[in-house]
């Protein structure tokens, strides 16, 4: 089936999946439960999520392994289950994906290097361990995401690159500052991340979470100003969350998201998918728009 990057280089725009975390909650996961633990305790529910995105028309789906490093799993007493929970995560998505691609999700550890919480070596080892599990379960690519610190992102990329045969992708999370610029929590601008992530070995970069699709257009434009070649992926939230009657709602509808797809592709995105609050309905509409664009 080749590589994702090869398809992009042939000029194809691809569709990724939508939210996992918010979907797991709909399936009954309670606050305080370990999402990755569901790969063993509720494998059927996780499979349903993966499958629903394939049915919606995604070219690739992620794995339920965002918090799958030992640092995150340790909080649930599962630090010794890193390999097996990540492998299970990838196996579930692999089974659902059929001939589509599987992106092994890797999120930040929550540890801050510059505060001396961890050493670079400890971070590298933790990412390596997680990536090995994801590769063993059948991931095609490692999707390092929601990064805010450049050093942590670089270590995760290197760990994936040097220890697996998977394609390695990395997206960071940016917010709009009061001056209207985009910066990560750690102060990194989209244009700042480009050289570091590419030097570390990322074959695709981009942005996820933190923004609805509208702000993502600005982020992609900023990346494209500096680099016109590197494949770019966007996983956008369904807008910013609003709290309603004891529940958090993401307001952007599938139609609203789909309406901005031509714009973000024109800005230079190669893969478009969703993050928090997006559903199979969102992805289905994105698919339609992307098909229209690919056809044109």
């Amino acid at each position: 089936m080749g590589k994702i990057i090869d398809q992009i280089k042939q000029g194809k725009t691809m569709v990724s999946d939508g939210a996992w975390g918010t979907f797991l909650q709909q399936k009954g996961m309670q606050p305080g439960e370990c999402p990755e633990e569901w790969n063993s305790s509720h494998a059927d529910d996780v499979f349903d999520i993966a499958k629903s995105y394939i049915e919606a028309g995604a070219d690739m789906i992620e794995t339920n392994s965002f918090g799958g490093t030992r640092f995150k799993l340790k909080k649930y007493g599962l630090a010794d289950k890193v390999f097996e929970l990540n492998k299970a995560a990838a196996e579930i998505s692999r089974k659902a994906a059929g001939d589509k691609f599987v992106l092994g999700s890797v999120g930040p550890t929550g540890k801050i290097l510059m505060m001396g919480d961890v050493t670079e070596e400890e971070l590298y080892d933790a990412f390596k361990e997680q990536c090995l599990g994801l590769e063993a379960g059948g991931a095609d690519a490692i999707m390092i995401e929601t990064m805010t610190d450049l050093d942590e992102a670089r270590l995760a990329i290197k760990a994936a690159k040097e220890n697996t045969k998977c394609e390695v992708f990395c997206t960071m999370t940016f917010e709009k500052t009061v001056d209207g610029e985009f910066r990560s929590m750690m102060g990194i601008a989209p244009s700042d991340m480009i050289p570091t992530l590419i030097d570390a070995g990322a074959e695709l970069i981009g942005a996820n979470c933190g923004n609805g699709i509208e702000n993502m257009i600005g982020i992609v434009e900023e990346i494209r100003k500096v680099n016109s070649d590197i494949p770019v992926l966007v996983h956008a939230n369904a807008g910013m969350p609003v709290y309603k009657d004891g529940e958090t709602v993401f307001p952007e509808t599938p139609d609203e998201m789909a309406g901005l797809i031509p714009k973000i592709i024109k800005a230079g995105a190669n893969i478009v998918g969703g993050c928090c609050g997006t559903t199979p309905d969102h992805i289905c509409r994105v698919r339609e728009e992307v098909n229209r664009m690919n056809y044109e």
């Binding site: 305080g32 929550g110 801050i112 510059m114 805010t148 910066r183 929590m185």
Partner: protein
Amino acid sequence: MSEILKQISDCIEFGKINKAAPFPPQMKGQDGADELTRQALDEGVPAQDILSKALMIGMEKVGIKFRENKVFVPQVLMSAKAMSTAMVHLKPFFLSGAVKQKGTFIIGTVEGDLHDIGKNLVTMMVEGNGWEVIDLGTDVKAETFVAAMREHENAFVGLSALLTTTMASMEKITKVIRAEIPNAKIAVGGAPVTQEFCDKIGADAYSPDPQGLVEYLNSQVA
């Protein structure tokens, strides 16, 4: 005396921990918060002055710059580290009562949420502004907040959340605290929280940034 206080304040503002620290580059090789605080005490500068005329001034400047997105989390963390290094020298004066703190602030990340970066930032900023902070950690239940508030009468309390899904938990905890301690002063914050949400759940204060919380707390004891 005011010269050394200004130097300490600069160390806090720019995150210069000690002489050996390489950060920030423009202060390389200079004494940091560690050395200068010791020196000031040795010269007889009152500990209270070091706190209120140096540390708090420096932290306030960082807080304002952070709010204006002029600096980001790394700079705040370095400032906080410089401040806590200076605080080590002041500790005996807190214990002896020679330095008075403005009050007590209890903080925790709400039940169901294990994120602590935001909570820790707030803790450091509030501490750096002359408050005693009791940090209850993450995944904190309503009863734990209530017990801490019973132990520290008149303390203010702050609830933190990162996950959108734990906002319901924040609402529940706010209501439990309100029922148990009707005059409690409850502040809420975190990425998904808004003023509207704060009003809706009956909390007393919200700020999108730590400095706003500090200003709220200070206004309550002014």
